[in-house]
Amino acid sequence: MTDPLLKVRGLKIGATIYPPGEKARDIEIVHGVDFDLAPGKVLGLIGESGAGKSTIGLASMAYGRGGVEITGGSVEVNGRDILQSGIRDVRRLRGAEVTYVSQSAAASFNPAKKIMEQVTEAAILQGKFGRKDAEARAVELFAKLGLPDPENIGQRYPHQVSGGQLQRCMTALALCPEPDLVVFDEPTTALDVTTQIDVLAAIKDAIRDTGVAALYITHDLAVVAQVSDHIMVLRMGEMVEYGTVDQIINSPQEEYTQALVSVRSIDHEEKQPTTNPVLKVEGITARYKGTSFDVLKNINVELYPGQTLAVVGESGSGKSTLARVITGLLPPSAGKITFDGRELTPDLPTRPLEDLRELQMIYQMADTAMNPRQTVGTIIGRPLEFYFGLKGAEKQKRIQELLDEIELGTGFQDRYPAELSGGQKQRVCIARALAAKPKLIICDEVTSALDPLVADGILKLLLNLQKIEDVAYLFITHDLATVRAISDSIAVMYQGEVVRYGPKSQVMSPPFDDYTDLLLSSVPEMKLGWLEEVLASRKMESAGN
């Protein structure tokens, strides 16, 4: 076996935290991690947020984000321990031997400089190439990464290309100086599924063709399975399991890995439509004030009591706008909405309190959906007080009942949102919606910001609550695995229109229209070789290209 390119031994990383009202203290966030990476191989680092995967990735460039410090162990690149080298040597390493691709290309490119200038900067600065050669190499990489018009795309500014293209430009930036190792930090997480697949394929080809080694960091096991040779599963700064992709996916040893692999396997039986829909959307067309473009075009959907309608689509397809129209935040320019047999007025201020109570909403970002200066008790208690006039002991009792329903115990009433984890926050938001005893809850991407295992818990909770409270959900999401898990009927949206609508069994079975086929096939599956299969059998290019 050849000598490893990257050799990490006993890596320990610490950080200083400043808890509110307490003294600052040092904590350890990575507790001694070992791994090797051979030249030209790809190692996937996988774990939930807070597992330390990005921190480890950056440590392989001897870098710690603000407040983070590498406290022990060794990181050898090409046989040199870079943690012991001076800052000059480290500088010579970064951008030449090891490069980095970050999650958000949009935030990482300088909007004031042309793409070409930024892509070639490191290579020229490190003296690897002259300007001419660097630019020639960049064009070659643009072509390899499947960017349109590779000769000229470098002359554009970052805002003139799409998100998926920019992410590929960033990959070109990382590959330009002919590095030995590239650290990919969640490169496709911020992209739509249909775009993600193209970027993923481009990255995979580029890695193969240039023979570079890579650390691929992501929380999505299905994605990492497509590009890596080996996978390391991390949890809370410790290695849980290490093995080849085949071994991790097909025969995981540890319980935690098994949970990750089997995530999103909720079985949900489709319910049949009943007679009276709780929500009937007819011919809704809407546009934002001051624009001359219809964001929604003639939308017709129905939702029955105690059932779930999933609205699926990419970003920009108008699915969140549909929620704004139903809640009355954006009055439609045409069409009508019937809720529980009565027609809803188009705008919020004119709606009777009863309509507001029966139609609740849960947001994507639980962080911003709760007032940081109110306790959980106040947040859940307010609807009780506001709609039902509950006070004192009666209110406390109901709050506790709701907390029990969302599977949070006692003692949460007096906590502030900042003292809750992401999943707990979303649960409190669910309790706030339930407190109003609604007939319909609009769930706007409620699990998108959560780690897969936590999201799973939230979905199970929602399904359970639906059985108990007989509430209907309008479930807006871009994630088809979630849709399969929770919906009874599905509306697929594309550029402001519903392109496919019906019961789940019907929507999810062939024959597909082109867009639904693209969407369905783009969801990464947890098996080897999935990426190649899909690319070979696609009918339509993704819109984000």
Partner: protein
């Protein structure tokens, strides 16, 4: 919880000034307008800071003057914060033409230099303490309005405010329960600064003769009465200046500390 040294110093002087203001009649050795000695007597056992231009005890004048200055500044600041922030929040929450109307009106007032505006108003109105407080409070509230509106505009787009709207909450609840607690820390910091400006403003007016009217003492007035003394090497006019400086700095130290405390509170916004 530990109070930083700077804040302790600030707290000490601030409370000293406020206590002196509250208990002025008990502390002051002589009456406010009582002529007790010769003109511009040097400091002695009898008159700790000496006497002023007509032979009144300067220490007593300083104490009573502090009372007037601090009272007017406090009242004006309170008035400006109540009107400014309520209007600012209201404009931010309402949006649309209401926001436009209020904001443009405030711009109009702000385009006139406030000292000149105050001088014009005071030259036609009777110069009483009430008029002074109302005038200063309303003029200053335009600045508070701008800050409060800017802070509140950021908060009104948060999902929790939208959630409150969807719940059907009235504007008053949104302003006082959703926005105010989250806007408090920048406002408190601004309040310290505004109080200092109010002290300076009332002192300026008195120095120009349009503020607190004699024989009532206030710091700006004491400077005015004793400014001739500087030519003769008499320090009487400098004491109120010191007092103003010390008060301003100590209040700022306290405001800084309060700002730090409230921003770190439960991870709220800054």
């Amino acid at each position: 919880m530990r109070i930083p040294v700077a804040a302790l110093i600030g707290l000490f002087f601030t409370s000293l000034f406020f206590l002196m203001a509250i208990f002025a009649p008990l502390i002051a050795p002589y009456g406010m307008a009582e002529v007790v000695g010769d003109v511009w007597e040097p400091p002695s056992d009898q008159f700790m800071l000496g006497t002023d231009n007509i032979g009144r005890d300067l220490l007593s004048r300083m104490i009573y003057g502090g009372q007037t200055t601090i009272f007017i500044a406090t009242a004006a600041t309170a008035l400006s914060f109540i009107t400014g922030s309520v209007l600012g929040f209201f404009a931010a929450v309402s949006g649309g033409w209401i926001d436009q109307a209020i904001s443009r009106f405030v711009d109009l007032i702000m385009s006139i230099p406030s000292l000149i505006f105050a001088l014009v108003v005071l030259s036609v109105m009777p110069t009483t303490v009430t008029i002074l407080v109302v005038l200063m409070g309303l003029l200053d509230s335009t600045r508070v309005f701008r800050l409060a509106r800017a802070v509140a505009v950021d908060i009104t787009v948060m999902d929790y405010v939208e959630a409150a709207r969807l719940r059907g909450e009235k504007t008053a609840w949104i302003i006082f329960r959703e926005i105010l607690p989250n806007a408090l820390s920048p406002l408190v910091a601004e309040m310290g600064l505004r109080f200092i400006f109010a002290v300076l403003f009332v002192s300026t007016l008195s120095f120009l003769g349009l503020g607190v009217q004699p024989p009532q003492a206030d710091w700006g007035g004491i400077v005015k009465e004793n400014k001739e003394g500087i030519n003769y090497g008499i320090a009487a006019a400098l004491y109120p200046a010191y007092a103003i400086a010390v008060l301003c700095i100590s209040i700022n130290l306290v405001a800084d500390w309060v700002l730090n405390r409230t921003t770190s509170l439960k991870g709220g916004r800054g």
